[in-house]
Symmetry: D2
Subunit: 439 residues, 4 copies
C-alpha cells in the first residue's frame, strides 16, 4: 500500500469516535426535508474550521423553481422554533429558511486532476422513534429529541461520514489533486432535493461522481458494493379530493364524500397488476380526510408514490394511477387535483468506474469484501445527479456500505452498526486519493 493510503487508514481509525459522536448528534436532532436547520448549521460549524474548503449555503445551493415538495408552513415553523431553541443563530437561520437548507463544500487544489463530487443526504423521516429499551439509541441515550421525527434511513450516518471525509481531505490537502465537491443534500426522502441542486449547476463539469447508502441488504460490516442496479424510477404525487361537507345526521345526501373517494382511490390503486417486464411499486403513504365526526367529509388528501425498474414501467403505473384517481373522484362526484411533488429516475452505474473503486478499496482493512454490484430496489434522487454527470461524459456510481440490520429501513427501530461509519469514510477518502491506489 502507498504511504498515503497507510496514513489514511490510520487516520480513519482515529476518526471513529468522532464519526460516532457526530452521527449521534444528528440522530438526536432529526429534521425532515427542507427543514434541516440544526443539521445544516451543525455541518457548517464543523466544516468552517477546515480552511481548504469554500462553503456555499442558503440560496447558493438550490435553484428556486426546481425545489419540489416544499413543506407546509406549519411544519417549517415547527422546526424553525426547534432550531431557535437549539441555538442556531438567527442570522444563519434567516439564510436557510424557506426551503434553503443543505450545504456545498468545495476544495479546489488548483493542481491538474479531475473534478470529483461526493454526495451525502441529510434529511430524516416523519416517524416516531421506538422507545423500546433494547433500541440502541434508547439504551445509549441518543434517541430523537424531536418527537415524531426520526433518522430511520441512516442519513445521520451519511452526514457524519461526509464531515469525516471533509476532515481527511483537509488534513491531506497537499497530496490531493484536481477538485473535490462535497454536496450535503436536503430533502432526499420523497426525491425532492436533488433536482434543485442539479439545476443550480453543481454537477456541471463533474468528471466523477460517487455516493452511497448504509445498510440496504444486511451485509456484514466491511462488505461494500461498488455499484448498484435496480434503482427504481419514481414519481411522488399529492392528490386532493374536493367534495362538499354536510350535516351527517340531518342531510347526509347533500354531501359529496371526499373521504370515500380517497379511500376508494387508495384501495383500487393497490390492485394495479405487476408486470413481467420488471418490478413496479405503488404506495399511498398518507391519507387525511374530514374535519369532524358528524360532518360528511368534504375534503381529503393522499400523499403517494409510484416506482418502476425503468422510467417506462414507472410511467405505466403513473398512467393507471391517474385514471383510477379521476375515476375514484367520479364515483363520489368529487373533484380531484393531482400534483407531482417529486421525481427520481432509474439509472445505471458506470461499470468501469465501479471496477476502479473495487480496485481502490482492495487492501483496506476496513473493506473485507467488495461486491461488484448489488440490487437496490429503492429510489434515490441522486439518480438525477448521476444522469447529469453521465450526460456530460462523466462517470457515476451508487455504492452500498453493508451493515447488519435488525429492523429494516423506515422502521421505528431501524439502526445500523456504527462501525460502518468508518468503512464508508475509508471508501470515500480512498476514492478522493485514488491516484495513490496500487495498480
Amino acid at each position: 500500500m502507498s504511504s498515503l493510503f497507510l496514513k489514511l487508514e490510520k487516520e480513519v481509525g482515529k476518526l471513529a469516535p468522532k464519526l460516532r459522536q457526530w452521527r449521534r448528534i444528528f440522530h438526536q436532532y432529526p429534521e425532515t426535508g427542507w427543514c434541516e436547520y440544526i443539521t445544516t448549521y451543525t455541518i457548517y460549524q464543523q466544516l468552517k474550521t477546515l480552511s481548504s474548503f469554500t462553503l456555499y449555503f442558503g440560496e447558493e445551493v438550490t435553484a428556486s423553481s426546481a425545489r419540489m415538495g416544499l413543506p407546509a408552513e406549519e411544519e417549517e415553523r415547527h422546526f424553525f422554533q426547534r432550531a431557535k431553541a437549539f441555538g442556531v443563530p438567527g442570522e444563519f437561520l434567516a439564510k436557510i429558511t424557506g426551503g434553503r437548507t443543505g450545504l456545498v463544500a468545495v476544495i479546489d487544489t488548483m493542481r491538474p486532476g479531475k473534478h470529483l463530487t461526493l454526495r451525502f443526504d441529510i434529511d430524516a423521516l416523519p416517524i416516531c422513534e421506538s422507545s423500546h429499551p433494547d433500541h440502541l439509541p434508547v439504551k445509549q441515550r441518543f434517541a430523537s429529541k424531536h418527537q415524531g421525527t426520526m433518522h430511520a434511513c441512516g442519513h445521520d450516518g451519511h452526514t457524519a461520514v461526509g464531515i469525516g471525509v471533509a476532515y481527511l481531505l483537509d488534513k491531506f490537502r497537499d497530496e490531493l489533486s484536481g477538485k473535490v465537491t462535497l454536496i450535503f443534500q436536503p430533502a432526499e426522502e420523497g426525491s425532492r432535493g436533488a433536482k434543485a441542486i442539479v439545476e443550480k449547476g453543481w454537477l456541471e463539469g463533474v468528471d466523477l461522481f460517487a455516493c452511497g447508502h448504509i445498510g440496504i441488504s444486511s451485509q456484514p460490516v466491511g462488505t461494500i458494493a461498488a455499484a448498484t442496479n435496480r434503482m427504481l424510477a419514481t414519481t411522488k404525487m399529492d392528490v386532493v379530493f374536493s367534495g362538499k361537507a354536510a350535516h351527517a345526521g340531518i342531510n347526509p345526501h347533500e354531501g359529496k364524500n371526499a373521504l370515500l373517494a380517497a379511500a376508494a382511490a387508495a384501495l383500487h390503486l393497490h390492485s394495479i397488476p405487476s408486470r413481467p417486464e420488471g418490478m413496479t411499486r405503488l404506495n399511498v403513504g398518507t391519507l387525511t380526510a374530514g374535519r369532524g365526526r358528524n360532518i360528511v367529509p368534504g375534503n381529503a388528501k393522499l400523499e403517494m408514490e409510484t416506482r418502476g425498474e425503468t422510467a417506462a414501467l414507472n410511467q405505466c403505473v403513473v398512467d393507471d394511477a391517474i385514471r383510477m384517481i379521476e375515476a375514484a373522484g367520479q364515483l363520489y362526484d368529487v373533484k380531484t387535483g393531482i400534483t407531482v411533488v417529486g421525481e427520481g429516475i432509474s439509472c445505471c452505474c458506470d461499470e468501469s468506474w465501479a471496477a476502479a473503486i473495487s480496485s481502490i478499496c482492495r487492501g483496506s482493512k476496513f473493506c473485507h469484501e467488495i461486491i461488484d454490484c448489488l440490487s437496490f430496489g429503492g429510489s434515490e434522487d441522486a439518480s438525477l445527479m448521476m444522469k447529469r454527470v453521465q450526460e456530460q461524459g462523466g462517470k457515476a456510481t451508487y455504492m452500498v456500505f453493508g451493515s447488519p440490520l435488525l429492523f429494516s429501513h423506515h422502521h421505528e427501530r431501524f439502526d445500523f452498526s456504527e462501525e460502518t461509519l468508518t468503512v464508508a469514510t475509508a471508501v470515500f477518502s480512498r476514492i478522493a486519493f485514488r491516484e495513490y491506489a496500487p495498480r
Copy 2:
C-alpha cells in the same frame, strides 16, 4: 295579555341589538368542545353583573369521569393560547382548562314554584368558514377569527339567547317564582358534554326542562315548534388501526397496511343496509393514516358515528360496524381498537308540556306560527338531560326556532336570520314566567 307579558314583549324588542352583538362576538371566537375558554369567560362576564344569579363553573359543572371525547393536548393548547391572546385572565383560565368549560347559572326565588331548567349549548365545529363575499359574517365583518373553526350550527345564537334570557329573568326577578337553572353546556357536538352535567347532578329535582335549536328545517322566522320527534340515538366512536410500517420501495411486503384497513372499513361501513323500522345513519367523519409518502402506513384512525331513530336501531348499526371494523383489520392483518367517545339517546318530548308551551307563546308578536311537533332527524345529547328529568316524573321538550337557511347546518356558509334570536329569547322568557300566560 298580562301586564308582565306586555312588559316582557317590550323588553325583548329592546334587547334585539344586544342579542345580535353577543352572537357576533361568539361567532368571531368559535371554540370546539371542551375548549370553550373565550366563550365561557364571555358568558361569565355578562352574567356576573346579574345579582340574582349564582354562577357555577370549572369543576362545579361536570362530573370528571363522565366527560366524553376530551380533546387532544395539541387542540387544547391551541385554544388556550388563543384565549390568553384574547385576554381571558390566567386565574379564570386555570379553573376551566383540562375539560372544565361551561357554566351553570341558578336563580332561586325561594318562593314556591317549580324548578325549571333551560339549556343552551355553546361549542363550535372544526369547519373552515367560507370567505365568500355574500356570506353575511364576511360582509358584516364578524366572520371567525379562528381559522379552521366555525359556528356552523347556530350555537353562537343559542349562547346569546341564553344570556338574553338571564338578563330578562334578572330584570323581572321579583315576579318570578320557584327556581330557574340556566345550563350553558360545553361539547354538544359529538354528544360529549351532557352526560357529565347529568352525572354532576344538575338535573336532579328538575320539574320542567326546555331547550331548542335555531334553524333545522328552514321555517320562516317566527315559526316555532313546541316539540320535536325523530331525535336520533347516536354512538360516537374512535377507531385505531395498528399495523406495521415498512419501506415502500425495498420491502413493502413486510408492512401491515393500516391505511388500507381503515379505507376498507370506511367503504364497507357505508354499505350497511338501511332498515324499514326507521332511519339509521353512519358517518366516518375523519380518516388520518400514515406518516410519510414512502412508508407503508402502519397506523390509521377513524372518527365516526352511528345514529338510529331508536336505541335499538342505533345498536344494530353499532353491532354491524364493530364486526366490519374488526374484519377490515383482519383483511390487512392489522390490530383494531374501538373507543366509544360520545353517546346520545333517542327521546320523546312530553306532549302536555309542549301543549302548555304552545299556549304560553300564543299572542306573542314574535311567534307567528306555533307547530306542535317537528321532525328533528339529528342527534342531541340534551336527550340525556331530558331522560333524567322524565325519570323523576318531570317534563321535558326540545323546541325548534324557525329560520330560513341558504346553506344547511355544518356547511361552511351556514348562517341564520338574527331575528330568530329575539324569537327564541321571547319564548324562553315566557316559559319562565308561564304563570302570567292567559288561560
Copy 3:
C-alpha cells in the same frame, strides 16, 4: 247479509280444497317471468270450461315492443323442454313461446254496470327451494319439481285465487252486472310484464281496479288491508362491463379486469346515502364475471335495481348509480353498458274505493279484521295498471291478505297459510258482486 252474499260465503268455503289443490300444482311447477308455459296452460285448462268467459292469450295479451326483460334463449329453452315434458300441447306452446305468456279472461254481462278489472300475477323466482323437512311443501310433497326455481313470493296462491274467482263469477253469472276482466299477468318479478299489458290496451275504459298480495307483514289469517301506501317506484337495470381477457400468469398486465370493475361497482353502489325525504333502496342481485380461473376476466354483468318512495327519490338513486357504474368502469379501463329492463312507479290507492271495499268485506266470516291502509315497502308493476286506470278517472287499489310468515318473501323457506286463499277469493268475489253488499 244479502242472499247472494250468503251463497257466496258458502261456495267460497266449498272451494277451499280446490284452491289448495290448484296452488300446490302451481307450486310444483314454478316458472320464471315470460316462461310461464305450464302455468298459462293450467290456467287455460281450468278457465276454458267456464262458458261465460272469453279467453285471450298469446299475442293478444301483451304489446310486443313494451315487454321488458325478456329471458335469455337458454332460460326459455329450459322451461320450454319442461313444458313439453309436462304435456303442454305443441300447438298451445307455439302460441305462448317467445315472451307471450299470461292470459286475460273477460266476462261481459251486457247488462249496465261498471268495468271491473282484477289482476293476478303468476310468475316464480330463480330461488332453489329448501329441502328442510319442516318446510310444508316438503312435508306434504308439493315442493318445486323445477330445481332452482321456486314460488317464494306467493304468486302460486295469487293464481289459484284468480281461478277460484273466475269459477265463482261463472257460477253466479246471472247476478253479475257490467263487465269483469281477470288479468293473469306474466313477469311481475322484475317489474317487467305490466307495461306490455297496459300498452296492449287492457286497462282502457276500466272503472275499477283491484289486486293484492298474500303475506307482506305477517298479519293473522283473516286480516285484510283494503289499500297500501309506500309502494316504491323502481328501476331494474342490467349492467355489462367489457374489458379484455389475458393469461393470468404470463401477461396479466395486458388484461382489463371487468370482474374488478363490477365488484367495485357493487361495493360503491351500496354506499349511496339514504335520504331524509323517504325510503330508497338499491340491490345488486347478481354478479357474474369471468370465464376461467387462469384468465384475467374480461367480461362481467350485474343485474340490479333501485327503488324509492317517490319517482323523484328513485331517480336520485338511478342518477347516482349511473355515475358510479361509469366511474367503476373507468377505474379498470373497462367499457360499461347500462340497459333498463324493468320499471315500476310509485302510486296511490284511491281512498274512497278502499273504503268501499272495507264496507263490502264487513260481515264476511272470512274477514276478521279490515285495515284501511298498510305500508307496502316493496315495488309492484301493478302500479302501471293502477296509474292508467286513474288517468282515465277510474279508481284503483292494492290490497294485502294477511298470513303469518315463518320466513319472509324470497326466502328459500317462504310459505304462507293456505287458509288465506279462501280469504282472498272471498274478498275478490265480493268486490265483483259489490252491489249486493249491505249499505
Copy 4:
C-alpha cells in the same frame, strides 16, 4: 447427419398437411378438462392403427382419488351430448365419462435402452372464440363449433404433434430402442390432471422426460428452447360464500350479502403486495353471485389461483389470501369455504438433458435457432411429472417451440403458426431416436 435422421426429416416434412388437419379437427371440437371425449376418441382412432403401440384409456390412465377439479355435472352432460352428436360410440364414451379422459400409448421395443416419456396436453378453455374475419380459424373455417369453448392455449397443436410423433415412432419402430411412453394428458388448465397420472404410476421408472409448449414468447418459427425456468408454483382454489337471501325491497336488512363479501374479497385480494424475492401472481378468474335482481344475494363463488416463482412465495400469497377471504366473509357476516382444486409446483429442468436436446436438434432444417433456456412465467402441472422423474434419478425438461403470436395465450383471438407443428414433431421424434444424433 445419420441416414435415420435424414429419413426422419423427410417424413416430418411429408407429415405437415396431416398435422395441420389434425390440429384443425381438435380446434373445431375444443373440450374443457375431464370432458375431452371427442378429443380422446379422435386420438384413439388415429393411434389404434399403429400396431407397435399398446393403448391405455379410461380407468387405466388416472388414479381416482388424485383427480382434481372435476367438472360440474351440467358441464359434463353438456360435453357428453356433444360427443354423442359427434358420433363417439356409446361403449367408448362409457369408459371415459366421469372424469376418465386422456390416453397413454406405450411402445416397448424390448431392446435395451432407456425409458423415455413424452407428454402432450389435450384440453381447451372456457373462452368464446372470436368471430373476427381476420382470425385465421374463422377465415379458413375451422373455428370452434363448441360455442363458449376454445383452444386458446395451443393444446390442439400439442395433441396433433403427439399423434404425429406416434406415427413416426411406429414407422421407424425397428430402429427404436428402449421404451417410449406418450401421455395424452387431460385437464392441464387449472393444473388438475397431472397429479392423477403420476399417482397412477405412469412416471415410475422413467429415465427421460420431455414436454413443451407452443408459443409463449413470440419467437420466430424454428426457434426452440431446450429448457425453461421461472415455472411458477400455483394453487387453484374455489371459494364459496354462504350468506342469507332476503327480499331486497321489503326486508333487505335481514339478508347476509354474499355478493358483497365476494366482491370485497376479489378487490382486497388484488392488493396483496408483490415481493422483492420473486414474482407472485393472484387472479380471481370468475365470480358468480346471486339468483335474482330483487333478492339480496345469499350465495357467491369465486374461482381463483395464486402463483409464485417458488413454492414458498406461492404459499405466502395463499396464506394472505386465506386470511383476506375469511375477513371478507366476516365483513358481511357470511360463511366462507375454501377448497383447493388444483396445484402445480415450481420445478427445474435438468441442464445436461437440455444440453443433450440442443445437440440432438442441431442440424435439423426445422430448428433454426436453439436457445438453452427461456423464462416461462406461467404454471404447468407437468411440473409434478418432472419432479417424480427427477426423484427417481431421471432427467426432465420443459421446452418451448417458438411461434409469432398476434394475440397472447387465453385471448379470444389466440392463434399460432401451424409451421410450428412440424418443428415440434421434428424435435420430439429426434429425441426419441437420439442415439442417431451426430456427436
